[in-house]
Symmetry: C2
């Protein structure tokens, strides 16, 4: 798989809520940085961070644009999440993925507005 195909398969795994597949595509030393938050370093930290996210029943991440330059893949997306109870949270986001020589995702940085995240997920005041 090309780096772009790897990222497309990774997003498809999220959209199936197949976290076994998604975790298998992450490098053990992955750094996942939701840029307005602290980065999670390593697969165990990623899983711990996810355990603190609001629970979701489904993902429908729409990829508007995707482009690769070497092992780096840039995406523009709307990440839709079906929350418990059926409301959909929609977050406009851009993300950079770096794929290592084993074909695993080693870096993932998502850029979005934290206020919009909080409003969509019904968090905070």
């Amino acid at each position: 798989m090309s780096p772009q195909e790897t990222v497309e398969a990774f997003i498809a795994a999220w959209n199936r809520m197949d976290m076994t597949a998604a975790f298998a595509m992450m490098a053990d030393d992955i750094v996942w940085h939701n840029v307005p938050m602290e980065p999670a370093k390593g697969l165990a930290a990623v899983q711990a961070m996810m355990a603190n996210f609001p629970p979701v029943e489904g993902c429908n991440w729409e990829t508007h644009s995707i482009a690769a330059n070497g092992n780096t893949v840039l995406t523009e997306r709307t990440d839709n999440f079906t929350l418990v109870g059926g409301k959909v949270a929609s977050l406009p986001v851009m993300g950079t993925f770096e794929v290592n020589s084993d074909g695993k995702i080693a870096q993932w940085r998502d850029y979005f507005d934290m206020g919009q995240f909080a409003r969509e997920f019904g968090l905070g005041g």
Copy 2:
């Protein structure tokens, strides 16, 4: 110029503070959307929006990653702005540019955290 070269030249114009060159590279019907804010539609609206931004004495936008897919160019950047008085505001951002058949920038969407923007520019409470 390829779409990627157009975007690189556009960023270089900002970094020289050569707004005459930057405006000349925008389509008349450009839509510039700083995603946490309202979009500016058309060159006149872009110029009006810019007039309401905090004044800056210099730009040093660092492009970490850039990749093109057809006429769409995706970037990951740190946009550094030298404010009046010398403080530097640094904003992590990703942006998508769409270049039209005239080689002008027709769409520009930047994704960043509004809270970080406000803190870096010393705005708000």
